[in-house]
Amino acid sequence: MSVRLRYHVIVAASLLGACSSDSTPSPDAASVGTGPAAKLKCTSSGKNAFDTFGAAAFVKVNESIFTNVNTEVTAHGSTNVGDSFTKIGTGQPAATTDDAATFKGRLAAFLVYVYGGPDAITYTDNKMYNGSEQDMTVAHTGLGITGPQYDYFVTNIVVPALTTNGVTMDDISSCFAPPLLDATFKATIVGH
């Protein structure tokens, strides 16, 4: 087990300019990443995604993911993103018991952790969320997520969330895509 490094990234909702240098974390922050994509280098910078784009960008991408899913769910129902919505509020799986703000903070923390940021963050709601300790495998059991649903989610939710916030195709390919397209990962998500 790696040493748990807790680093507070306080990201204000008002932060704009996702790809500006203003959002780039300090050099100290660059050294804390232990996530699976921490060693992936973005084409544009030679650094990992978190060190390249910074906390503000991750907030914006996180926001965009929710925006895109909002459009998806309300426009076309649940079929393209799984049937987990029917379980909301039931606590089955356990993740569905979290409130909206908690979901959002946990997702942001996970993204930050995976792409080379700290293990834990303080999100815009001033609450701390841990990205490295999230193990939601159980949460997929019974959701019946299919391969096409997964493909649809990645291509129509995640990629647009990145591109609309200024991430180039080169950087998406080099430092964002590998974890998302990892076969082991996908196989664990799909078909349960």
Binding site: T74, H76, G82, L107, T137, D151, S173
Partner: protein, 208 residues
């Protein structure tokens, strides 16, 4: 592997959270507003009827592959599926999910989801096609863009390159084209999925 477990949890969280977070407000008819400020969704009808997602011009035609928005019924789709290799479709929360539908002029639809309005006719459809080779996806994207532009009108936005060389440059490279009209919306995306290529399409009727 630790990181794989984390990824699993994370994307699961992403999927569940993203879906879950809004469902109570729309599917369950909550009295509250969306916590993220997405409360401008029409009180009735899907979000693609929201003025913000409409264009300013009227589409000359509203193509949707082999189907007709505002006309094709659930039975029509089922019949098409039976006749084109799709076999039985399944109902999912009021929508119809069909697999392996053969479509003229491109790869088979791996999966298609059909949503119907209160009159029982096609309101929107979404599709995913998969192919291991870039050429069929790139060519189909190009053909669709050409056909949609010719029949509906100019796209509202385009991004990325559907050139097979560009798409093949790396994972999650994507070309997209979106059409927005007062009565019609279509989005087509071609994406490098690492282990192959995906073409996703959306066609929506915006007529209230």
């Amino acid at each position: 592997m630790r990181w794989t477990r984390a990824l699993v949890g994370g994307l699961g969280l992403a999927t569940i959270a993203a879906v879950a977070i809004h469902v109570p407000y729309f599917v369950r008819g909550s009295q509250g507003g969306c916590p993220f400020g997405y409360t401008k969704v029409a009180a009735s009808g899907p979000v693609h009827h929201d003025p913000q997602l409409r264009g300013s011009a009227v589409a000359r035609q509203r193509p949707a592959l082999a189907f007709a928005l505002g006309a094709t019924s659930r039975a029509d789709v089922a019949a098409y599926a039976a006749a084109h290799g799709g076999g039985a479709c399944r109902d999912q929360h009021g929508e119809l999910e069909c697999a392996n539908l053969a479509i003229t002029g491109g790869p088979t639809l791996t999966t298609a989801w059909f949503a119907f309005d209160q009159h029982g006719v096609l309101d929107s459809m979404r599709t995913v096609r998969r192919d291991r080779a870039v050429a069929p996806i790139s060519t189909t994207f190009a053909n669709l863009e050409r056909e949609l532009t010719a029949s509906a009108g100019e796209p509202a936005m385009t991004s990325g390159s559907f050139d097979p060389i560009d798409l093949a440059r790396g994972p999650l490279r994507q070309a997209a084209v979106e059409y927005r009209f007062t009565n019609y919306r279509a989005v087509v995306r071609a994406t490098n999925m690492g282990d192959g290529y995906a073409l996703t399409e959306e066609y929506a009727n915006l007529v209230d």
